[in-house]
């Protein structure tokens, strides 16, 4: 376990070299939140739409935007890079689990973003736009759990794409395609409670809502305490399902790799 934590630490310190780009990300986050907030202000104003106020939407936008910075996007890119540079060979030879290595490495980046981007952005955003507190202690606790779920699901999806890239040879296109679905069904901009009912059904059949909507909705209390544990259980179910899928693809991919002579 200690070895894996070392990977996290290593990735964290590697990112420190890019400290100068932090301010750029702060501006980026600010602009993204600003755009969303103004649109909600134009559309909701001081009313309640389906019980949702502007203040709630502002908090929702802030959470979603900052969560995006924490999710493990770079997985498929990293694998692709390793393949191209050939370093994949040395990484696979090591007596460690490659996926776990990727996970902990990605978490290092997440930690870095958390400290240098998300924390300051959160401060700036709550000062400028105003941020609501969590609905209750239970909700806060569940929110943190949901964050973990989001991280794991984003990792598994990224890893899934890397594996698929073994057949399609183009991780970038696959990532982009997945991104299209995530744009809609993660609820990053439009919360799922505003979806038409048929779309809500589809969203519930997909794991993407855990990457934005679910944590934010839990935080705001729009998911009640009764529903909370059910939602988290389903999330865990998704993780299990993705794990199985990923494992199966991994064995197929290794076979293919061996067949092609590495």
């Amino acid at each position: 376990m200690r070895t894996y934590v070392k990977f996290t630490a290593k990735a964290f310190s590697k990112q420190l070299a890019y400290r100068s780009e932090v301010w750029l990300r702060l501006i980026g986050n600010f602009v993204t939140v600003l755009i969303q907030v103004e649109i909600w202000r134009a559309v909701i104003g001081s009313e309640r739409i389906e019980g949702v106020t502007l203040e709630q939407m502002i908090t929702y936008s802030i959470i979603n935007t900052l969560l995006l910075a924490l999710l493990l996007h770079g997985i498929s890119g990293k694998v692709d890079e390793s393949l191209k540079s050939g370093s994949i060979a040395s990484e696979l030879i090591k007596p460690i689990s490659y996926p776990l290595f990727l996970l902990f490495d990605g978490l290092g980046n997440t930690l870095y973003q958390l400290v240098f981007t998300v924390a300051p952005s959160l401060l700036i955003a709550s000062l400028y736009f105003g941020m609501m507190p969590p609905a209750s202690w239970t909700h806060l606790f569940a929110f943190l759990l949901a964050l973990l779920l989001a991280l794991l699901i984003s990792f598994l999806l990224g890893y899934l794409i890397s594996l698929l890239a073994f057949w399609f040879m183009n991780h970038f296109a696959l990532s982009w395609m997945l991104g299209g679905f995530i744009t809609i069904f993660s609820g990053a901009f439009l919360p799922i409670w505003f979806f038409p009912s048929s779309w809500i059904t589809v969203a519930n059949l997909l794991p993407f809502q855990y990457m934005g909507y679910v944590p934010a909705a839990i935080y705001l209390g729009n998911i009640t305490t009764q529903e909370l544990w059910q939602v988290i259980a389903v999330g865990l179910g998704w993780i299990a399902g993705l794990l199985i899928l990923v494992q199966w693809l991994w064995t197929r991919a290794v076979k293919r790799l061996v067949l092609q002579g590495g």
């Binding site: 780009e21 750029l24 501006i27 980026g28 602009v31 993204t32 600003l34 755009i35 103004e38 649109i39 202000r41 134009a42 559309v43 739409i49 399609f168 040879m169 183009n170 970038f172 296109a173 696959l174 982009w176 395609m177 991104g179 299209g180 679905f181 995530i182 744009t183 809609i184 901009f189 439009l190 505003f194 979806f195 038409p196 779309w199």
Partner: protein, 264 residues
């Protein structure tokens, strides 16, 4: 740079893409899915709220598509070329262009002409036309001409800005952060600008004229008020583009001269 040379380059670029046919097709498909996602989110939003600042779904679709198609056209002539200029300068591959009896800017831009934007153009073009039909506008030939000029101008504005950033890589060398800033600012014009307040609207009109890319032309064509510019400024739109592009070009050539003088 002649038309023949340009078409020859495009033919070779296409041939190069076809070498990796499967890849190319996959990318196109991926882009369509990705942009469909963007459109769908806005569509779902408007389904719930009916309008954004008075703009209906077809009007928003028109605005957004105008932004996307102008970006795709402009970027195909500038983005990747300017982004990679930094590397070319560092590695000295830019010299290979200076050896040739051609205008280095035109050659760089043509040689790197990006066919990959075809998906952007298809999707946004399709939605643009759909929006125009939905809106059932009674447009004159003049209006159609205006639209075409606005698209060309909008493309030139963005290509011009991207060229300016590229020109900076002759002087500063580290420019990738400026591209990110550009894309952040561009996010604003996907929506009706007045909702962001006067400051943003002034910023995007006078300082970095992105508002002329789609907001002002769409406002004029859809007869919505533009709040900042008076009616007679309608014909400023087709002028801003070439102006922007000219400024970018001049700055770039200035930068290239500096490269030759100050050393590579």
């Amino acid at each position: 740079m002649t038309i023949q040379l340009f078409s020859k380059l495009v033919r070779l670029l296409l041939k190069e893409r076809m070498e990796y046919r499967g890849d190319f097709i996959l990318s196109i498909f991926a882009q369509i899915v990705a942009y469909a996602g963007d459109y769908i989110v806005i569509w779902l939003f408007i389904k719930k709220f009916n309008t954004i600042a008075g703009w209906t779904w077809p009007e928003i679709a028109f605005l957004y598509s105008l932004g996307l198609i102008t970006y795709a056209l402009g970027a195909s002539f500038s983005f990747v070329q300017m982004r990679d200029l930094e590397i070319q300068v560092k590695q000295g591959t830019f010299d290979s262009i200076l050896i040739k009896p051609v205008n280095p800017y035109l050659y760089l831009v043509s040689r790197g002409f990006n066919l990959g934007y075809i998906a952007h153009i298809s999707v946004s073009g399709f939605v643009l036309i759909w929006a125009m039909i939905e809106l059932n506008m009674t447009w004159t030939i003049g209006d159609y001409m205006y639209l075409i000029l606005a698209i060309i101008s909008g493309a030139m504005i963005q290509a011009g800005i991207l060229t300016v950033i590229g020109a900076l890589s002759f002087i500063w060398v580290r420019t990738s952060f400026m591209f990110t800033l550009f894309f952040r600012l561009k996010d604003f014009i996907s929506y009706p600008l007045p909702i962001f307040g006067t400051f943003i609207q002034i910023l995007l009109t006078v300082v970095i004229p992105l508002a002329f890319v789609n907001f002002y032309p769409a406002s004029y064509l859809l007869s919505n008020e533009t709040t900042l510019l008076p009616i007679w400024a309608k014909w400023c739109v087709p002028i801003v583009g070439p102006l922007c592009y000219w400024v970018g070009y001049k700055l770039w050539m200035f930068g290239a001269n500096k490269y030759q003088g100050a050393g590579g």
